[in-house]
Amino acid sequence: MNSIIFSFNIISDLQVMFQYDFMVHAFQAGTIVAIVAGIVGYFVVLRRSSFAAHALSHVGFTGAAGAVLIGINPIFGLLAFTMSGGLLMGILGRKAVNRDIQIGTVLAFMLGLGVLFISLYTGYATEAYSLLFGEILGIASSDVLITLISGVIILVALAILYRPLLFTSLDEDVAEAKGVSVFWIGIIFMLLIAAATSIAVQVVGVLLIFSLMVTPAAIAERLASKPSWGVAISVLIAVLATWLGLFISFYLPYPVSFFITAIVFLIYIFIRLMPSIRNFSFQAHYQK
């Protein structure tokens, strides 16, 4: 792959790229994951639950490692463990989701357990590597289908719950008084994070989940004055970073996940530092 040269003719470059099935699968799965992670991530950021989302990915690592050990598709192990973890966090409530020390303790134990499973596995070490850092270029068409089905389910659930989820994320007490079931919304949302995390692991891996689930949404939160714009910006950044990361990695011998994380990080830094961005101008004009 490294012998392929970037020609500066984007159309012909893309035609060459899409001759390879693994690139087609990578773009398909990457796009689905970026859309889902961008939307779920916006609510994760609004609810300040990013550490819980990160912890769920680690719980998923243990599940995936266990699945690899017993010889089944890792995504089923991922889904089973993240969904169980998400359900437990949802039942314990939003206050529990924000308990960083307790979550960190469980996270470390689960990661240790995952390491044990990997050490017991007699196959190739690349399995562990791909779980930790993602291996989107190795996605099979059956994985794309699982990703698509999971993605559609998550998006439909988010479309139905959009307004109550937004209300509980921004103003929980008023939402509860207005008849929104904060308890059930919390449980369903944790399950959605779990499912989104499971499919995102394929692209960026357990350790880099923030790059798709949190950073694009954090950028969007700083730019958007309307929640719908926030969701759109978050998705746009996640999708563009994934496409650009895949495109660059086709020509350079470095991991896709590095490029995706680097792109979203650079955008984040740019947004935080640019003095002309609306946040700054608002604060300059409207001193408290």
Binding site: L46, R48, A159, I160, L161, Y162, R163, P164, L166, F167, S169, L170, D171, E172, D173, V174, A175, E176, A177, K178, G179, V180, E221, R222, L223, A224, S225, K226, P227, S228, G230, R278, N279, F282, Q283, Y286, K288
Partner: protein, 271 residues
């Protein structure tokens, strides 16, 4: 003509259960509130003021006795009630504009995205409410740039947006300075009178409320006293309520200070 009672409590006891243990917050409360009244809920920290609002919102069941709103049991999602809680869960750096927060009060409990034409109407309605509370210039400002007083206007607009008959306000004056306390009470009073809304407002300092109050609910020491401010806020009544000597002092401006109550009862501060 006698005013219609819209809230009634009979032998009402409230508290919290945890497993087999039960913590009673207050017992045997009896009162009724008529339409259009402006009622201050006073008392020391932890006495049960917010508990009373939770009962009215249907977020908590009475331990015994009964409480009714419009002759029915309280229930969550009652569109006749507008509510401003003491705390809000959003981040202090939130860049979302005030108008969107107000709009959530109208449609945040509905499923789906909402149709674009309906969303536009909701935004118009939210803007109308911001105008009513004198905050239309704040409509497109991010919440993170608003002061405590400005935020309270936004929350009041959110509570008003469903055209409620009752406003439940949990310590809306807590983050305001003395001048803004009086201005905000005046705004609530005028808005409530214009729309014939009954107001129940929790406060730590009664003095900014004195000109607006029609009655007082005083919660302390597991008991609830209800009456006109003069009848409740006197040494004899509060000594009886607390079960220990309490003195109520008034200065030459009519401002009130409660002295000698148990720790935590210093809620009527000097201005």
């Amino acid at each position: 003509m006698e005013k219609q009672n819209i809230i009634t409590a009979k032998n009402l006891s409230a508290g919290y259960s945890s497993g087999k243990s039960q913590k009673i917050v207050f017992e045997n409360a009896n009162f009724s509130i008529a339409k259009g009244e402006f009622v201050g809920i006073l008392g020391p920290n932890g006495a049960g003021k917010t508990t009373l609002l939770k009962l009215l919102l249907g977020l908590l069941e009475p331990i015994s006795g009964e409480i009714n709103i419009f002759n029915e049991c309280p229930r969550c999602g009652n569109i006749k009630i507008g509510y401003v809680p003491q705390h809000h869960s959003f981040d202090s750096e939130l860049m979302i504009e005030a108008l969107e927060i107000v709009r959530l009060g109208l449609s945040g409990n509905k499923l789906g995205f909402g149709m674009p034409s309906k969303n536009r109407k909701e935004r118009e309605e939210a803007f109308k409410m911001l105008k009513i509370v004198g905050a239309e210039e704040l409509a497109h400002r991010p919440l993170s740039t608003l002061s405590g007083g400005e935020l309270q206007r936004i929350f009041l607009a959110q509570a008003l947006i469903g055209n409620p008959d009752i406003l439940l306000l949990d310590e809306p004056l807590a983050s305001l300075d003395i001048r803004r306390e009086s201005e905000f009470v005046k705004l609530i009073k005028e808005t409530a009178m214009a729309r014939n809304i009954t107001v129940l407002l929790i406060a730590h300092n009664i003095n900014p409320l004195l000109s607006a109050l029609s009655r007082v609910i005083y919660v302390a020491n597991g008991c609830v006293a209800v009456g006109n401010p003069g009848d409740v806020l006197n040494s004899e009544s509060l000594t009886k309520l607390y079960g220990s000597p309490v003195e109520v002092l008034r200065d030459s401006y009519g401002r009130i200070a409660v002295i000698g109550a148990e720790e935590g009862a210093h809620h009527h501060e000097h201005e």
